[in-house]
Symmetry: C2
DNA sequence: GCACGATATCTGGTTACGCAAGATATAGGG
DNA sequence: CCCTATATCTTGCGTAACCAGATATCGTGC
């Protein structure tokens, strides 16, 4: 099943406005996922729904976007993977942060903060000028 | 001439770390450029140097990145273009915000702020947990 | 017992954009 | 005369988000 997300984005597309949100998410998604995995391990589908719920739609992703991210994180050694096949129910793939993953999370958080601060500072300049 | 930029990025690449900054800029660049054009018209080369100076390196771009952005903005009707050929010196192409450009600037600023706020809120959650 | 929706994961192709690298042209200094 | 600085433009590459589809299992209703 495909999670139905990004309603605002679809509206923008219909209006001819390209969704800039898509681009903004570039590079932030990895950080977002690592952050969500920090408190406890989780499986893909759970992350998608968590994200939609916790950010009330502002940072939603489709599963088709998330799984490649998780795969990338696994390949990079930032998460470890564990399959769980319950007697009843669909098998789940649980992702857990590794030590390298925590280090990466810290690094990306810093990078994001630096970037966001630079943007905020820039956007503040000249707000009363002109 | 190519502006020499993003020293940090090159260091990261040398270390094997891919620069996430590159991805973070996605979608923000248009906003950045529109913002820089808000107080007064400017030419491409000027924008590159201004940006490097004003953000002390945090938001630098190369000219090879900027010119396509400016072209996109022109095609979209967000900036108007004027050539100036002085008696001495290289001709300059001046870009000026249109009314549509100012509207777009406002819209993008709002989108950025919304996104950044959502990110900050998310990254704050669980900062003391575990 | 079977159709259907919800849960859960994976894959292929498309699109878009930042950037490195190269080309081009003018002007001034050693 | 070459080298650097100013100034713009173009090609090609890599990467990442996303859409659309495929697959498989379970619970519920008819």
């Amino acid at each position: 099943m495909r999670y139905h997300l990004l309603v605002a984005d679809e509206q923008e597309r219909a209006e001819g406005r390209r969704g800039i949100e898509r681009e903004l998410k570039r590079g932030s998604l990895e950080l977002i996922v690592l952050h969500l995995l920090a408190p406890a391990e989780a499986y893909g589908y759970e992350i998608v729904s968590k994200l939609a719920a916790e950010t009330s739609g502002a940072l939603e992703v489709t599963d088709g976007t998330l799984y490649p991210v998780l795969y990338r994180l696994e390949r990079a050694g930032f998460v470890s993977v564990r399959w769980e096949t319950p007697q009843r129910g669909v098998p789940r793939k649980y992702y857990r942060l590794t030590d390298a993953g925590r280090a990466e999370l810290a690094a990306l958080t810093l990078e994001w903060t630096t970037f966001a601060r630079a943007m905020s500072r820039l956007l503040r300049t000249g707000r009363d000028a002109r």
